[in-house]
Symmetry: C2
Subunit: 277 residues, 2 copies
């Protein structure tokens, strides 16, 4: 812990501010920011490479002291910042007491394809809340990774990181992916599943084996450059006059249907008498 | 269409602004605001009682002229407002060209209970995006209505209305409900289903018959005043180290599982050979 608390004009604080606010700065640095004691603690325990931790001198000791101890045990630098400094860094009106700079740990297409499980692919999802929710859903539904094609929201932006609630540190991540990367996944045996009102009822769609659930933009769905690569189209039957589901909802319903089928298959394989409907 | 376009200081514009911005004003007036040509068109076609439509004089004629014609056929008043006026009324930075004042059409507990279908109950959901998404999911999953207990976000706030994308006008709505209302539903044969990590795996939970899916607050889950009234607890199995799902995701996964089971039961009842897993 450095002796003096950094003020807003300090170059390290300025760089932190750029990492919070600018996609290009994050991309150049290969690092992003997680906010708040809970998220920082998750980062420390996730095995992610944490470059720096900034804690306000006037922060809640009961939350920050254990964090400081944990960081010091791991040999991670903790820097004190003056009161109010993080308020000028954050993109929210109620900044959390503490930020950590975490290195991006991007996976390759080969790594993702070799894992032969479930992938969630964002093909134009632009709302950070939806993207973050889908990252969280991906982990919860047992996906091995999340892929964001260029044209999707930056998965490392603060709003996505917040909505993902730690999951971004625990699933494999590939950003800046291209349609050619989807081709590579398909060549490796991963089937691309898209949602469409014209698709087969999801109940009748094969959801076994290595799968990538592809989710399009909120406004325009899946674009033409990806559309032709979809192997199976699934439709979630809808009542009423709803034109489409929220994309995070559609993706989550599909992802958890994949995991439900896996549970069912496992129960049948084990010969267990199952009440599962 | 009135001859002169209203300016920002006009009392009707001032009242519109209050309806957009203040829950108490909406509650006093028994009315709320939908924004944009698409939403206004949906309101006109939903059978909702539309009190007033305000269209900017400089709005896109291709969108607004058909709307004006439709409103006039239905005998609904259309008022022109000066350029920029709706920008001062809206709570967003990019206001839509047009607003309509719509009367709340609240259902009673008796009406909801008698419909004997699926209900979605918000018991402390506070994020407007989550609430609106759940309204949209409720319609899509075939729910007969949505119930918001006191302490939940106002379903008629602009952000909820936007996220609900028209569904608020098409499902039965009951706001300001109390735990006693839940008792009345239960007395009428509706089973309350809550989500909890400690619950039975959802696969094993009975989701037939009149059901109310109860969704708690993002931060604290289902409160004690409602907890004791839950008839069945369902757990959505989660991989990884996710502590909880986004509430709109959890509610949607459950709601669509209810409709999946209904499809399956219908297929079995009809004797159709079914490939449904």
């Amino acid at each position: 812990m450095s002796r003096t608390a950094l003020v807003a004009t300090n170059p390290k604080v300025q760089q932190l501010r750029r990492l919070v606010r600018r996609r290009s700065s994050r991309s150049d640095a290969g690092a992003f920011v997680v906010e708040g004691p809970v998220a920082i603690g998750e980062a420390l325990r996730s095995g992610a490479e944490v470059d720096d931790i900034f804690l306000p001198v006037d922060g809640p000791a009961a939350l920050l002291d254990p964090l400081r101890d944990e960081a010091e045990r791991l040999g991670i630098r903790v820097t004190a910042v003056a009161a109010g400094v993080l308020g000028g860094v954050a993109d929210t009106v109620t900044p959390q007491p503490g930020m950590a700079v975490v290195r991006m740990a991007e996976s390759t297409v080969d790594e993702l394809g070799a894992d032969a499980g479930l992938l969630v692919v964002l093909a134009g999802v632009s709302d950070p809340g939806n993207a973050g929710t889908l990252v969280r859903t991906a982990e919860a539904a047992g996906a091995v990774g999340i892929v964001a094609l260029t044209g999707s929201v930056d998965l490392y932006s603060p709003k996505v990181v917040r909505a993902a609630a730690g999951s971004l540190l625990r699933v494999a991540v590939l950003t800046g992916a291209t349609p050619a990367d989807l081709d590579a996944l398909r060549a490796g045996g991963v089937a691309l599943v898209g949602t469409s009102a014209d698709g087969d009822v999801v109940d009748d769609v094969d959801l076994e084996g290595p799968l990538a659930l592809v989710l399009g933009s909120e406004a325009h769905g899946i674009g033409d450059d990806v559309r032709g690569r979809i192997d199976r189209w699934a439709s979630i039957p809808m009542a009423g006059r709803v034109e489409s589901l929220n994309v995070a909802v559609a993706g989550s319903v599909l992802a958890f249907e994949v995991s439900r089928r896996a549970r069912r298959a496992a129960a049948i394989a084990s010969g267990a008498p199952s009440a599962m409907p």
